[in-house]
């Protein structure tokens, strides 16, 4: 199972495909601001990506994959200790 949901933490492993979209959405709704662990994630399907863009989460561990880390992470609605946030999203902070 590429994403394992353990209470308030979702751990992404390997290539996460579209099948995870529904469980992920359910988890995001149940755990607003939940922690996501992307360290082992190798690919994030666009459906999952957009869910993570519009649901606030806390980043437990950044992805090791360079594409995910450099290209996608900055668009996710995650709060991290270093706090990157897309400034073009004025509504995101409300």
């Amino acid at each position: 199972m590429p994403i394992t949901f353990a209470d308030s933490t979702a751990t992404f492993e390997g290539a996460c495909a579209i099948e995870e979209a529904e469980p992920l959405l359910a988890w995001l709704r149940e755990h607003p601001g939940g922690r996501i662990d992307l360290a082992g994630c190798e690919h994030l399907h666009a459906a999952l990506f957009q869910l993570l863009c519009c649901h606030r989460t806390t980043l437990a561990a950044p992805p090791m994959d360079p594409f995910l880390r450099d290209r996608l992470l900055s668009s996710l609605a995650v709060s991290t200790p270093s706090g990157t946030q897309d400034p073009s999203q004025p509504n995101g902070s409300e």
């Binding site: 959405l25 399907h45 666009a46 990506f49 957009q50 863009c53 519009c54 290209r71 668009s75 004025p90």
Partner: protein, 771 residues
Amino acid sequence: MNPLLSMFIAEARDLLETIGQGILALEEKPGDSQVIQGIFRALHTLKGSSGIFEPELTHLKHMFHAGEDLLDLVRNHKLAFSSEMADRLLALVDLAAHYLNEMDAERFDAAVSQQPCAEVALSLRAILNPGAPLVEVKAEVKSAPPPAVPEWVTALPAEFLSQARSQGGAGFLVHYRPDADCFFYGTDPILVLRQLPGLHLLHFDLSGLSPPPGDDCDPFRCLLQAVAFSLATEEELRHHLSSEGDQVEIFPLPMTGGEKKASPEHGRRVRRLLLDLREFLVLATPEDRRSRIASALHILERPALAPHGNPTWGQSLKVAGEAAERGANIQLLIALLDESIGLLAEAAPPPPSPPPSAVATPPPATRGAQPAPAAADEGGAKVIKVDQARIDRMLDLVGELVVAKNIVPFLAEKADKEHGNHRMAQEIMEFFGHIHRLTSEMQSAMMQVRMLPVMHVFQRFPRLVRDISRKLDKQVELVITGGETEADKNVVEGLADPLIHLVRNSLDHGLEKPEDRIRAGKSPGGTLHLSACQENDRVIIEIRDDGRGIDGAVIRRKAFEKGVIDEKQRDDMDDQAAIQLIFAAGFSTVDAVSDLSGRGVGMDAVKNAVEGMGGRVMLSSSVGHGTCIRMELPMSMAVSRVMLIQVQDALYGIPLNQVVETVRLPRSSIRSIKHSQVVTLREKIIPLTPLAQLLGLPDPDPGSQGKEDVAVLVVKPGHSEVGLLVDDFNKGMDVILKPLEGFLAGVRGCAGGALLGDGRVLLVLNLQELL
């Protein structure tokens, strides 16, 4: 036909009209930025909407695209508007209009459209790149992207562009808009982007993602958009993205421009946020004021919130913020918020205003014309397009209502006389008054619906005059006045052909070449005046030129040679009567073009068309000074005013516009000349005809002989007056004239039938046919 396509055709026709008018307006007044903007927008819309019908309309789309690119440069002052450009754009308009007609007739063939469209597109592109030889341009049309920077590039954040540019400039921007259903086709846009060759930068546009969605969030709809910057070659990119089709646009990285522009969506969101913040501050209580100010400032410091058009925002914010924090006075901050909310409201895209209708009108005309823009400014004209058949159906119903209403007085009379209830009769009549007022208003409202300004027809003339006068090497100024005069749609549309004919004739034969005009002591440029005005319930259209005029003597001679008139007529006729002969059928002047101006060609067709609408044509001309053709038309064809007359106990209607006068004369004043009866009225001899005889009714002698007086209805159906002997005159009334149908359709001498209030059918006579 596909309803979408028919909508496209209707819309495209309007847009082409806008473009055509705009181009002519630009020739008058080059550099009118509003007009340029209008043409650009129209071309842009055409390009977009023809794209919906790909692949059939691909070639048209390319052509519109070329036009759009050209106008884009004009609008950005990179290219001056030239008459060459005007010619080529008009060629585009013509070609597109032609294909629209083909589509309408379901004859359109995409393959046939390729060559002509490509040629027009090429001619437009040739203006764009004047240096480039046509062949090369041709190749470019196919492979190279248009030079205009697409909107999605200009919407990119500045830092994205500057980072991309730091790579030396070689590279392509890829705009990827995956289909919302792409997940179902197994496409993973992130994977596509991940594997994009030469990927250097990636920017996601998440504006399609709603803020934390509610329960209705569908995780299987793709709402992402992305722009990638790649260092790969265009070919590699196209190869990789070939399966994504039109979801992808590739554009070379522009080295200049492309500063981030606020998108309307972004502007709206910021504005909403600022409004929220303002409320948040206004509602602050003394206890939480300080903390509220701090959080508001924290949010406001985001660079994305800085309004465009206010470069000092950061500075002002700092000052206001400090003031607020120091003295806990939030007024300054609120004022600042108000200001930037106002700015954002202004920056919101204005509603697309319809093209100013007066643009095609040359300047002198505007004093007469009352252009529409004022109305259009009030949030766009609210126009519904309705099928004419529906309106006609309503008009029919109103007509029936009017007839039905007229039965009420009969009822009142019945109540009074047969039932002896005088009071009841009075009440019915009172009630009738109400219905009468309402139905009359309803009828005139329905007429209004069918009214069109004659500008509708006039607006094509600036183009026509321009084209023909260029072809003939003549200088002609077209002056249009009274374009706002309204008339029934059928009248206005029926005017188009006669008017085109008359205008052509004036240009071709009436107005002289500049050198001839100078020789005749006139200014080199001729003037063609097209005017409309309303006189009572008639619309008067005049076409006046200051050309060479028509010589009555020549017409007389020609008409005699053609056998249109006999020798006696030739000698008796005065000049004004003679020139009317050009309206006579058979007065063809093919062999008299040089001195007769060839005006006879088709003039009888003009006359027939106008008279068919219940109008009249008159012509006056003076040699050397010009010609004026005046058309009088009924404002509405739906209601005709007729005069009722009685012949042998039956009522007939005579169109009121043909009635000159009604007189009662002593029988003794009728004289006989040869076999015909005549009467002298005000020193004019008027031939008399009994109407009963014309209608083929049995001889009425026994009854009418006894009367001392005769009733004479003097009519003028053509050029001469005729007296009709009738039994009695009745009132004039408005009727809704219906053409006779079925078996009766061929009845001669009858213009149509109408229903009288008591249910009787009234025959309205066509005097031209009878006499």
